[in-house]
Amino acid sequence: MLEALALTCIKGDRILFRDLTHAFRPGVLTRVAGPNGVGKTSLLRLLCGLAQPDEGEVRWQGTPLAAQRDAWHRAVFFHGHLPAVHELLSPRENLRSLAAVQGLPHDGAAIDAALAELGLARQRDLPVRVLSAGQRRRVALARLVLAQERPVWILDEPFTALDAAAVAALARRIEARVRDGATVVLTTHQDVEFACPCDTLEPGRFAPRRKAA
């Protein structure tokens, strides 16, 4: 189980949230909600260990992330709001190099199957430079297919720039993964319905009250 224990996040001189405690149970989709600027992305980055909390800690299976970085990196898949796709490389090359570094399946067959599933079979050898914004997002999301076995998915705005059919397909994929017992944490501003156990976490509720001037 992934747990956030009394997390405090400070950006500049502003406290985004304080004492945020939450258990992200397996088999539940947690939606991190709230308006822009409440610290949704900051929370996701704390959860995957890319950023360090100012106070508190994140635990995976009872152990703090910092004490088991390698094991944690083998368990988690993070989809950031930046696509991590290089314009000069083809979708295939992009996927192959990152998947190899992240310990995901990176043989030719797995890569091609993942790209075909996202509808990029014909574009797989073109430089990403010539692809549209939506297609670039799909290249990034193809990594999700490769990370199918990972028990924790942390997804920051995965539905951005996707067409309706792709949004629906991705939502089905996420649901299936949650029903298989994975822990999924995501943020989205789109109205996507999920037919699986869902939970909502609002970092804004943990923001310190503004004192009256």
């Binding site: 890319l50 490389l89 190099s97 190899a100 570094v101």
Partner: protein, 222 residues
């Protein structure tokens, strides 16, 4: 671990090849600056011969700085860096692969071109292999020290200037022993100690710099 290194090596080589104008920039800078000195100083053969090792080395150092700010910048901007930092293998592995390719495309061409330019300085042909050798031995250290600077100044405004200020003082020992070896050979004395120190510096940098780099990169994505 080997798979991570090779995958990163392959990726960076492909990127270096497709963005080769960037690569040529450092080399052209080196060639142009080395060619400028004889024009400024005049055709005094003894004087040119005396300054040749220093000029070549200082120019190689500045050329190696030229491409450094871009070492991690693109990866930071497009989100690749945070994905790379989520690797289950030690991050030094892919950092080392990146730095190795950077050296291959900036340091090696400079070392190979330096002997060709030595004619302008009337250097004896027998010290030319030594000149290239010291550059081959010294430029990896420059690239590794530079990589720490590049990681530390990542995402900082006017990072390129800060990078130069950070890295140049640290590069002084490499400069002293690199140019010193060639000067010693020109003076007819043994240069073995200079080479040994250059080599030792490179090994120390290979062992330590990637760790410092990774620590700085983790801070940069915070």
């Amino acid at each position: 671990m080997g798979a991570v290194f090779l995958a990163m090596l392959r990726r960076e080589m492909a990127l270096a090849w497709r963005g080769r104008t960037d690569v040529l920039l450092a080399l052209s800078f080196f060639v142009v600056v080395v060619c400028l000195f004889p024009f400024g100083i005049g055709p005094e053969a003894n004087q040119l011969r005396a300054i040749a090792p220093g000029v070549v080395w200082v120019t190689a150092l500045l050329a190696s700085l030229l491409a450094l700010p871009r070492l991690f910048e693109h990866d930071l901007r497009d989100g690749t860096l945070e994905q790379l930092l989520l690797s289950p293998e030690p991050a030094v592995v892919w950092v080392l692969a990146k730095v190795a390719v950077h050296w291959l495309v900036t340091g090696v061409p400079v070392a190979l071109f330096a002997p060709l330019l030595a004619g302008l300085y009337d250097l004896q042909p027998d010290v030319l292999p030594l000149l290239a050798g010291t550059l081959l031995l010294g430029t990896p250290t420059l690239t590794l020290i530079g990589a720490i600077g590049a990681a530390l100044t990542l995402g900082v405004r006017s990072g390129a200037v800060l990078l130069a200020l950070l890295v140049l003082p640290l590069a002084v020992p490499v400069l002293i022993f690199g140019a010193g070896a060639v000067e010693a050979a020109l003076g007819g004395v043994s240069y073995a100690a200079h080479l040994a120190l250059l080599g030792a510096g490179m090994l120390a940098a290979v062992a330590l710099a990637p760790w410092a780099c990774v620590a700085a990169l983790r801070l940069a994505v915070q």
